[in-house]
Symmetry: D2
């Protein structure tokens, strides 16, 4: 059976690793702060001493860390993944990183003889616990095929998207649509209520028709309650919309609706809502 390494035991990583252990995989975990590994060892995991040693002893090593700097740190250096990975072993980084970081990690691994997949996920804590993440995989196809049984445990779908970079592109496209939808949703909810319609009724009618979707349901309840408790920070959405519009620029594509929605999120940032939930864009519209 494939032996699995798992680096990074934060909220997301811990939930994902537990699912792998419970599914019967032979899992070796590592975390910068080793105490966080205790709970998983109790469940049956081995504990590694460094990213290097984990990568050297496991068939496939997964990583799930918080940002590009952390993703680079566990890959590079004398104790990093690249130093340990041997000919043919696999490394799958599931962290959300930018294109150039992903490419740097890919180069480091393949130069060391390893195989690499980027596999950023769509979904937060609950889907990670439930094993219903959407995993956007791109890179080495043979590694993807071998990793599928593990992906099936962690996610509800895990399409293979092509070369390194395509996972990040997919996430950008989906988030751009999400931002545009939230902007038009905010405008529609504002217009309806100013026209005298009841907010709850609006949500009910929307929920019954062709445009019904989980986001409108969740964010709709939030904006009627004027509760903007952060789940996806508004400033991150604006950053993704900016990057999506910039990608359109590079690919010679005019995206007026996305560009306008981007400016709406910038307006919300300017109004001081950067660290609130994306639903707070409604506050600058209503």
């Amino acid at each position: 059976m494939t032996s699995i390494g798992f680096l990074g035991l934060g909220i997301m990583g811990k939930a994902m690793a537990i699912n792998l252990i419970k599914a019967g995989f032979d899992v070796t975990v590592w975390n910068r702060n080793p105490e966080k590994a205790t709970e998983l060892v109790v469940l049956g995991a081995k504990q590694g001493t460094s990213p290097k040693s984990v990568a050297a002893h496991c068939d496939i090593t997964f990583a799930m860390v918080s940002d590009p700097a952390a993703a680079l740190a566990i890959c590079q250096g004398p104790e990093g993944v690249a130093a340990g990975i041997g000919e043919g072993r696999g490394y799958i980084d599931m962290s959300t990183v930018d294109d150039s970081t992903s490419q740097m990690i890919a180069d480091a691994i393949t130069n060391a003889g390893g195989r690499f997949l980027e596999a950023p996920v769509s979904g937060t804590k609950k889907p990670a616990e439930d094993g219903t993440l959407i995993i956007l995989a791109a890179g080495d196809k043979t590694l993807y095929d071998e990793a599928l049984p593990a992906f099936d445990v962690m996610g509800k779908m895990s399409p293979f998207l092509g070369e390194v970079g395509q996972g990040a592109s997919m996430k950008l496209v989906v988030n751009m649509m999400m931002g545009g939808m939230l902007s038009i949703f905010s405008e529609g909810m504002s217009l309806g209520q100013k026209a005298g319609l009841d907010g709850e009724k609006l949500l009910e009618v929307i929920a019954a028709g062709a445009i019904a979707n989980p986001m409108f349901k969740g964010k709709g309840a939030m904006l009627l309650a004027e509760d903007y408790t952060v789940s996806f920070p508004l400033k991150h959405m604006q950053k993704d919309m900016r990057l999506a519009v910039a990608l359109g620029d590079k690919l010679n594509l005019s995206l007026p609706t996305a560009a306008t929605a981007n400016e709406a999120f910038k307006q919300a940032k300017k109004a001081g809502f950067s660290d609130e939930d994306i639903a707070a864009v409604y506050k600058t519209v209503k």
Copy 2:
């Protein structure tokens, strides 16, 4: 038991009337071309001789005709609904008409002593046949309460929205969101594919996440197949977006995303796609 009149036996009206008959209601039908009534008479309906006589003999009379001119025609004149409706009888116009037409009909009925509801529907042929329309009712609340058993047969939901005009407003808000969503969806599908992503994969990932909705599924398949067979004509969507933006103007609300999406649909009209499906907006983006 409430006796029901039904005026207008086009594609929509015929399906709706059949459902009422099958549910056991005492239904009297009328159509400008009387031959269309035959099939319903076979199923158990009575046949009326004029809108006036139907309205005079039934507790509640429904109408479902094609446009504002037809809606006015069956209400006004010596053989119209207003001439027949007596004190306390009800008239429910389910046609899609503009605000001022709806108000003219409301005035004609109430001046004649009748009660009035506007009840435009969301949904096309299939939901009409399946009894799963969304009915947006507004006007006389007592009539609404009496009509609910019939609404329950024709639709899957039929919220009461307030004064005459609110049904039309609700439809405008929903269609505005629909147009904005289709514009950002077209941009995202274009961006993703230009970035090298497979169109089918894009649709799969979207279908699995928080923004999944029936419209993206249906229109997504259409645009990948480059099939713009009309279900909702693009020019009608653009008209609705124009009216929604104008309503924002009247209510002192700035709607930049809707306004931009409106211009995208105008661009598609300019390119010659007025009579194709709303999905054809994609052709001017890609």
Copy 3:
């Protein structure tokens, strides 16, 4: 010599009539409140007793009143211009009115045997006094030719634009450009100053280059001084932008920049600046 009638002696009309008198024309004036005519009689004008009598006795009668209702009022009724104008006499309405009002006046005059020109002006009090208005004439070409000597006294240019309605269209197009320019100017002034540039220096550099124009000079000084004393009310500009975008809709033309600038002016209205100068759009951008 051509005898001239002049109806309406408000701020604009009085200045224009004085210029005609001083230029040696034979001028008969009329104003709803006759006391306002005294000053002009002193300068040599005759005083008429009604729009009807003025139109009946003068070769060409001009009108300059405040709104469409006033423009209709002096034209229609037993004492109106149409009742007095004979075969071949001319009537030139220089008031700013909408298309349909202009057409109603045109019909009333031509049905009575008269000739008609619409001639809305661009420019306010100072250009009216200085005889440097821009006169946008459209309608009867023979009347235009006869009126040219008078136009030359009142304005610095008075192009003939075609059929009745073209004068109003020209004004709409110019005001739409004005609104779009003011929106991008506000954004540029905000961006420059946030980037650390001095506002005065920005205006100097703009004034020296290819985009230098009187409006940027005048409004630029206003916005640096935070002085929004009304010269052109913001709500009127927003109305013109709305009409221009609607005209594009009718003519099958997509106008995304105008539509976006229109939403910026709506945002300013929503923020409470309707009755301030158009320059106040800057306050919602900075």
Copy 4:
């Protein structure tokens, strides 16, 4: 008298250097291809052998080269300006370069003990010949003061704008306004003509009013003649608009009109007009 070095004798540089020579300055020129210096030597210039030697022998050395790579090349390396400039001598780069290139050059010069000004210009061949450029200077104020007599020969204005980077910011702001104005101008010219107005008449009326500016005059003639001979390439304008919107992003400023105009220029690029004049944006609107 101040001795002046001039590096780069292309269309712009040659015209500027000639003006300095004719004004009586002691000028030493250098060009990568030395033959281009001959004409200036005939007029009285000395000829330098390298950027290093020119910078070492002149009080102030100006450079005007075609792009960031060329600007870096003449500054760096064993024969570059930085290698020759001594304590207190001045270097003024008038080329149009991006922020980071300008900062790299500034660092190289100041680390070598020299003083630095960035001074990008607004204006093309004709203003360079006529000495009517707009010079946007930023950096060392003492050097600016010493260079003023030379700036006065080359330009009609040369404001001092602050720290290195402010010259580039000013140019970006002005070009952003230019792009936005050209977009709304294209929309207005299209709308007017579709409404039946004569294009020439439109330009005349615009030229007489508050929005009259040299750019509308020049570009207006071009678009009526359907002549898009390049003076300012469309792709460069789009790049500047993209950078301006990105600067707004960085400074937390929402710029919807600029963002929308940027998408209009992207639409024009997509349609294949990248290398035509900026006026070609009209072709995608009309």
